[in-house]
Subunit: 208 residues, 2 copies
């Protein structure tokens, strides 16, 4: 099977750069949603990361008729029964667990503040980041990989790198947060890095 | 990556036999749910074939810790807006579209009777069978394929072979129903046959 182009279904420039770097080996052209004038909106309304990522990959792949990669990821906190989970990006607005958190600086900051408020005084701070990366070929097959990063929720935000919940997530075996790690080290250990490398390994075999 | 055994997550002996035959080339041991004493029940409660098949493959794979293949399939009728769809197996009990159909001979027969009743006098009889086959490796990746068989709903049941809606489905280019075709010919053109052969082709590359 031969493929010339792959669409990375993200509008996040940082993620796109990471994918382009990692996918160099495949010798296919990597394009992004920015490369299309006609836009569609895909609502991430499913109950799992995998179902959201599959929905995105399929809808974009079928609309633009091009093999597509999409990702969904989030934070799962044991003490909160796996929340914020698929609500990670909009946890601040989630009405359960103490209601809405006002946005002050940014949505990221509001999400972090809500988690810290809910975790105040809690002993069990175990958590994990989950990433599901999906490749879908309009030629009727799909492929997904999963990556996990285990760790714990910090008592307060630290570090300026990364994004999302990185400033309050301390990976297992570390004493600093993800937001204090260089991008190379983060990618090496991160849920997304693991899932993307696994996908790349499978795609290399399939596209041969 | 090397795999010694694959679980086919089906209790349908006919399907299991087909899978074993098709998967000979892979040189792995094919086992079925019957080979385990400890049983779990997986509820097919999702809104798409793919999500149901993924749910089954993942739950069995993680419970028995073995790479697993699961399938979900059904009939989509254009005039009924895609129904019975994921409700194909229990359409007779589905409360929409004219309510429940009493079971007389069998659930298959009740499903067929309900479809024929709803399609009485309808001009547009276009329909398709859809199959989604999923392979899931507890080593954190999955793979799915899709197969379609286009055709139309017959005016009355004909043929004794196959199962499910086969007696009222006339494939494109045929003048007989699926239930009038030999198993070899059915497998050659069927949604399930196409999806399984595609999966096999991908697995051969990945497991090399």
């Amino acid at each position: 099977m031969s493929i010339n182009r792959i669409l990375i279904a993200t509008t996040n420039k940082g993620k796109l750069r990471e994918f382009k770097e990692l996918f160099k080996e495949l010798e296919v052209e990597i394009i992004s949603l920015e490369d299309f004038e006609e836009k569609i909106e895909v609502v991430e309304d499913r109950l799992t990361f995998l179902e959201n990522a599959i929905k995105k990959a399929k809808e974009y792949a079928l609309f633009y008729n091009i093999p597509t990669i999409a990702e969904d990821a989030g934070l799962e906190i044991e003490e909160l029964g796996g929340f914020p989970g698929v609500y990670s990006a909009r946890f601040f607005a989630f009405k359960e667990f103490g209601g809405e958190e006002p946005i002050q600086e940014s949505a990221d900051r509001a999400n972090i503040m809500k988690v810290l408020r809910l975790m105040e005084g809690k002993e069990n701070r175990r958590a994990r980041f989950v990433s599901n990366v999906v490749f879908y070929n309009p030629d009727n097959f799909g492929l997904w990989t999963e990556g996990y990063l285990y760790g714990r929720i910090a008592e307060k935000p630290q570090g300026e790198k990364g994004f999302g919940y990185d400033p309050i997530f301390i990976p297992e075996g570390y004493s600093v947060t993800l937001a204090q790690l260089d991008i190379e080290e983060k990618n090496r250990i991160s849920h997304r890095g693991k899932a993307v490398r696994k996908l790349l390994e499978l795609l290399k075999k399939i596209l041969k």
